[in-house]
Symmetry: D2
Subunit: 144 residues, 4 copies
């Protein structure tokens, strides 16, 4: 699914935490959206513009406006996972990320998902992504 604005991808790795496991003995589905966010955070850091700096330096925020996931296989306590994230589009006041979750040792994905974000300023109004930031996200050249 190549898109014109697609930027680079990045991976974040982590271990499944004890309280992320639910009564079925597997990771609760809500935790996956937190893991996806960790992937998004690492992708943006790798592109040189951390999400923290987007909020603190640029005065912008990327609230989630829609999200979805398919859960294909279970994650268990202490599993060492990797979330692979790609920026699939940056258009006007919208950003979309896509995610795949794997075990570190590989194999088929445990889950896939996406999030779509608005770009808003400090007063919560949608704004067009600043061209500079857009270029950074596209090109991975942004420096804080």
């Amino acid at each position: 699914m190549p898109e014109p604005d697609a930027g680079a991808g990045a991976a974040a790795t982590f271990r499944v935490r004890y309280p992320e496991i639910d009564r079925m003995g597997v990771a609760h589905h809500a935790a996956y959206f937190i893991w996806f966010e960790m992937g998004r955070t690492e992708l943006m850091r790798q592109l040189g513009c951390s999400y923290r700096s987007v909020e603190d330096e640029h005065g912008l925020a990327f609230p989630v406006i829609s999200a979805g996931a398919s859960f294909l296989a279970s994650a268990r306590y202490d599993d060492w996972l990797e979330v692979r994230t790609r920026l699939s589009s940056v258009r006007g006041a919208r950003v979309r990320f896509e995610y795949e979750l794997y075990r570190r040792e590989g194999g088929s994905p445990l889950a896939t998902g996406f999030t779509e974000h608005a770009v808003v300023n400090k007063s919560g109004r949608p704004v067009r992504m600043p061209e500079e930031l857009r270029e950074r996200l596209r090109g991975g050249e942004c420096k804080e």
Copy 2:
């Protein structure tokens, strides 16, 4: 969107908790999936077959196989919310629920979403929903 297997709807109400608020000052999107689950729990209780009894008495579980949500307006700390849940289909080894999240005082929804579930037995194998349980879910006549 009426569907043949659609069962009754139910509402669960709750207040937004302090740690559910994130750095933007609004409820984090992962929390919505937990609230949807509360709605699902209350719907099943209202239908007379609590999800706890599904697991403990029937030896079944309904793991989430896909989920999605649209976030339309922000929820804030201590807001009194209501999640309205409907069982939109029960087919073979699949169950689907749909959710709308409102402020107690009404207005337009803060979010809408869905979850699709497999029906599995204790060893995690997909099984057809037992006819008795299916009838209960459809008809709201189930007693524990």
Copy 3:
């Protein structure tokens, strides 16, 4: 343990959520501190000065500076619990709350705990609790 500044008590009730259950099949200990906070929120609302108004109207916050709990019996999924909260002291720039967690149907407590809070202003500096707010907390007469 009666203390001079002790205010009224209040109870908050709720059901244990599915993701609050961990791999052992019982509620994770970190969840108890979130439940205690719900008790604190309800106590303050009952006293007529919601914690939201403390932050939004008074420009104060009560960050937790120490917390502790004893876990005496397990809480399970869908258990209907009640947290009973009392304000055990208000002194200068310090507030202390104490908690007991019960099943709705009674019995001995599942857990007991406490939190101690600083009183800080918007820039995070410790401040003496305003006399008006102190009186409200002590006397339960505060109105928003």
Copy 4:
């Protein structure tokens, strides 16, 4: 505070997640207990007996019976933290861990804390820690 049964220490590092931040803009106090648990998990792994193996191989669990923490300085979104954990005692059917939380770059601790655990078997009955496991925890010689 050296104790006779004290074992080795270990550090776990991680970044503060977005939803761990609360309405005050700092990490919520309940998150610290989850971070302490991550430190405990890494300490046990380093000692050669992962907590997962304690549950899965030894048929034991270490439920928390008391916990406490002092919160000394705030942790913020994306901060890179390190939790240093030591096993402070292993006695009969009791284990105690102590924690210090730091920023990766050092400085004074952000928080200190402890957890005390029972040692129970699969039916939840307190049992004396098996001598073999006790030696492993003390000596760091345990292999899975």
